[in-house]
Symmetry: C2
Subunit: 653 residues, 2 copies
């Protein structure tokens, strides 16, 4: 059988790709490199891959619950259910392929560090970047002093800097002799830490030599399952030049980590996931360097922080055993890697450092977070605290660390990506147009939109508000079910096309995309499952350690959405434990911050490696008390109200 | 102007190459990869690139002093003076592109080590190869013991072997998870020393992992300017499986090191020299592995020993400053290199180790030789000796080491390749057909031929005999000039086509190639210059140290031709000092032996690195007494006969 091909023209980008005729359009578009987003991984169960066919012939599997009659008339279809029969012109809908410079969203400390990075690092850790500039003024060789060029440089640096230096780059050695002589033995040299193992005296290698090096940049990368963030750092001036984030393009293979691991086990799937994340990071590097007028060749170092699965995909390492009992990663401690091995857009002589991992579900983002969480506002970090501290990292996955300077225990709870706005009818990531705050007062629904524009959807911090607000307004019960006879809001409560009850938060004539912003009963169920997983995880871990929630002296809340959370509302929801609000510290993106600290301070590196060695992992699902009692946390705030005494008192008022 | 091309068919290989019409045939043949040998580097001054044109049109520059009338009639021309005008068929003459398995030539200890390698290494150093096999019986992971796969292996080896291990190979990690599980956590693993710096606790890296590894081979390589030797070593059974040698194909760019450095400074010249030596080594690896029925993938380690220039060419590093005052190499201490960086035919995951260098004219061959020279027959090596020792390494270059356990001083003398048979009318390398021993008794010229065949030419050990024998027979005077009125040998003394006197050693009807084997006055001058450079170098160095020749307790003589030297005859020639013959130790190819020791013993590695650090280099040409008195050593045995009291007495008898 001969394959026939058709041409697909994609709007609004005016891009053209050639795909096989009669083949599944979602799959072929993804293969052709189009970033089309389907949180279900193309199984037809999420309804996210809507496209509008503007021109051409096709067949589509009907009926789809996700396509309304109105949409059908407009030729709107699901790409995953559509098969082209001729050349097509299509328009991508619902797509979120936006790169934005982060001002405050996702990285709370940006403004702070923009001004004070150097001072803060000096104060908290001491500055000693992974990559150092050495200005060499070498003794000129003579018949009496006839050491080889490379050895001369090594001896000079070793003596001057009191460090171990090696030279392992033959290519660099080729141009060296002429360069040294043309520049009268005065050249600039970059050295990088070669081993990041827990050693008192790290070994450095010579990364680059040039007559004059006056620009040295590095990037710190946070690979989240949903969002990838890149910070561009000026090493010589110790400044952050920009922080940029975008969707992790792996999302086209599924929104949660497990779906992606399943995809990675398919033919070529791992390579696809690897390419998507490398491409995403490169896009961010591209925009960050262009905006800062930095040349890619001047970027020598990358520090990558991510959960275990994201780190494996970034390194093109198989993740299949991460999801199989007993859940074993390929590697935890990762040595510095040559740029060529991972394909980042930066100086090809540079090095890529991955933060060390603890277990399949506790990765480098958490290890660095334990050290970083105490930095801004400044305290000492969990690993140096006398008091019992907790780190709650809330993203697509939820990770929990409990400990102090003597011990560190970690656990993961599969809270799902609801708080990233994924899998929620009107959910969206925390960007311009997202509702970040909701309050129901009397008959009115008040909300705040990021960027002060018309709203498009609801992001994590807004989603946290909803169940508590709906419960307080008598719209849902403690189990999250709609109370059908609510009179006050009867205009806003309705049954949708699937026969499910939903609450209209914003009517379409007030939204930016002319669509109602709603919350359905399954959305609420989804949110309760997520919050239940997190609270119950923490509660179980504390009990597992023989302690009580009241023993906790500090709770650091980090993660993309954690930065803008209303603590009280999160307690009402039953997401956060009912302890004094003063114990909570909103810590922002500690994964990225940890990567920056790792980049800039050897003290931070030593602490991060110590944390990685010290931290133990508890598999919650192997604990009977976790599995048996989980459902009791699916209520607002909990079935056991004695766990939430203050909140209960307040709700009753 | 359009380029026109012609086809050159080369016999006896039946190879065809396409070259530019009207262009210099030697240059174009070399560019096309033909190993055609011209010791002058194609400047028309050596007459070695003779070819016979069997068919086709050409022009040739005439007259050439190297082409006799008889040869002219046979269409024999110099390739460097010839320009093709049509397709040609040519036959290469004088070419020595022979690979041979070494039995005793060039590597004295072969038979010895073939049997006793393990015992000898154990006795002298202790066995601990650069590459080790670890058979892993890993604890199975569980929820409680959830270390990552790679970290599990590292921890296991570190504990079991009490060494530092790192894993820096992402590709290897990719297949690891499935392999471990399929093989019930029993796999074999190869670890290699990662740093060979002078450390008590070297770091190992994981080189290869496989369900079952029962074959581990390595090669030791001696890159001589004239001859390249490869030994194939079975690491698991500690046996040498074969030693093979061939001409260093770089010889097409000149027979001496300086001519090659000049070539390397031309456009693409360095790359050409690099490719030639890599190709030469690969040819030897190919034949060695085929004969031993070893697969290339099972060869994991290469140890390369060579002088500084050879090591630079092997690493594709520029050598231009080696020949310019103050004579500085690019690098002395070389870290292990990935196979892919140098292009050797072996397991691509393997590592290549280069022996460390001391200075531009004292390389890894000498450093390893200092340790190796005492091994066979066993003594302690210069670096551990209480007594004053000398190492004379006689090859294309001559290197001298003087020292004991307290100090080591080295020097180089540009003795030229005469003793390799290069630049001598009937000279040849020490292989089958070479005259290795000559004696003139009464009217008779007696000689011994390697392989007991008809002779083809004279190799180094034969060339040493000639001046002394001719002098004793009254054929030449002490300055090496023919005594024209010699009656006894008047049939053998004649004037050649160039008007130069020569002595016929073997007439053409007794030779294998139907050509007279002769020695000319310039040949003798050449030999005297070489011997003079070596003796005078040693004599100068000893005086520079404030000592006398009589203080020397032991003289190790190494190098390809050094193995078969007649000590007495070398003393008569004035090459070796006039000390008791019992002080001389013929040590064979200590460069190759040193590479084997480096491969197999960590004690040897430590000693070799210590020698490299300790050894100082003296530039003889900067010492007035060397330059001013050199000519006095150009006599048989010397102008100052008091330096050779015993020899003088004997010659007078």
């Amino acid at each position: 059988m001969n394959n026939e091909y058709v041409k697909i023209k994609i709007l609004p980008y005016n891009r053209e790709v050639i795909v096989e005729k009669d083949k599944n359009l979602l799959q072929t578009l993804i293969s052709a490199g189009v970033n089309i987003y389907a949180s279900c991984g193309g199984r037809g169960t999420c309804g996210k891959c809507k496209i509008k066919i503007l021109f051409g012939e096709y067949t589509t599997e009907e009926p789809s619950q996700f396509i309304s009659d109105e949409e059908k008339k407009q030729n709107i279809v699901l790409a995953c259910k559509t098969f082209p029969k001729s050349d097509l012109s299509i328009e991508l809908l619902n797509q979120l392929d936006v790169i934005e410079e982060i001002q405050k969203h996702s990285f709370l400390q940006y403004e702070f560090f923009k001004e004070n990075l150097k001072e803060e690092i000096e104060k908290n850790f001491g500055v000693s970047p992974l990559i150092k500039l050495c200005q060499l003024d070498l003794p000129k060789p003579s018949i009496e002093d006839n050491t080889a060029d490379v050895d001369r440089i090594i001896n000079h640096i070793s003596q001057k800097e009191k460090i171990n230096v090696v030279f392992d780059n033959l290519k660099l050695a080729s141009n060296l002799p002429d360069m040294l002589r043309k520049n009268a033995w005065n050249v600039d040299c970059l050295i990088s830490e070669k081993f990041c193992v827990n050693e008192e005296n790290p070994v450095y290698n010579i990364t680059y030599i040039s007559p004059k090096i006056d620009k040295v940049y590095a990037i710190a990368v946070d690979i989240g399952a949903t969002t990838v963030v890149v910070a561009l750092v000026d090493i010589l001036n110790l400044k952050i030049l920009g922080v940029y984030s975008t969707l992790n393009q792996q999302i086209v293979y599924g929104s949660d980590v497990i779906t992606r691991i399943i995809h990675s086990e398919q033919n070529n799937g791992l390579k696809e996931l690897n390419q998507k994340v490398v491409y995403t990071i490169n896009e961010l590097i591209d925009i960050a360097t262009k905006n800062a007028e930095v040349q890619l060749k001047d970027v020598y170092t990358a520090v990558v922080s991510g959960n275990t699965t994201m780190t494996h995909f970034f390194l093109n390492l198989p993740a299949k055993y991460i999801r199989r009992e007993p859940y074993i990663p390929v590697v935890n401690k990762i040595l510095p890697i040559d740029v060529s091995q991972v394909g980042l857009m930066m100086n090809p002589q540079g090095k890529v450092y991955c933060l060390p991992l603890v277990a399949s579900y506790v990765g480098g983002d958490i290890v660095s977070g334990v050290v970083a969480c105490g930095t801004c506002p400044a305290s000492c970090g969990i690993d140096e605290s006398d008091d019992l501290c907790v780190l709650l990292d809330l993203g697509t996955n939820g990770e929990i660390v409990v400990g102090n300077k003597d011990f560190l225990v970690s656990a993961a709870c599969s809270c799902g990506p609801a708080f990233e706005g994924i899998g929620i009818t009107s959910g969206m990531v925390a960007t311009v147009g997202a509702i970040e705050d909701i309050e129901i007062k009397y008959t009115e629904v008040k909300y705040k939109v990021i960027g002060d524009t018309k709203p498009v959807g609801i992001c994590g911090s807004g989603l946290i508000d909803i169940p508590a607000e709906l419960y307080k307004a008598g719209i849902i019960d403690r189990a999250g079910k709609f109370i059908k006879d609510n009179k006050v809001f009867k205009n806003r409560i309705r049954e949708n096309d699937n026969g499910e009850l939903e609450f209209v938060i914003v009517e379409k004539n007030f939204t930016a995309n002319n669509q109602d912003i709603v919350i359905t009963e399954s959305d609420i169920e989804n949110i309760l499952r997520s919050k239940g997983a997190i609270f119950h995880g923490l509660y179980t871990l504390i009990r597992y350690l023989g302690m009580n929630l009241s023993d906790i002296k500090k709770i650091y809340v980090s993660g993309g959405f954690g930065s803008f959370i209303d603590i009280k509302k999160a307690q009402v929801l039953g997401l956060f434990p009912d302890v004094e609000q003063g114990k909570f510290v909103i810590s922002g993106n500690t994964s990225l911050l940890g990567a920056i600290l790792f980049l800039l301070s050897s003290d931070a590196r030593k602490r991060i490696y110590k944390v990685q060695q010290k931290m133990t992992y508890v598999d919650l699902s192997s604990l009977p008390m976790y599995m048996n009692e989980y459902t009791s946390s699916l209520f607002i705030p909990h079935t056991d109200l004695s766990l939430f005494p203050n909140i209960t008192k307040e709700l009753r008022r």
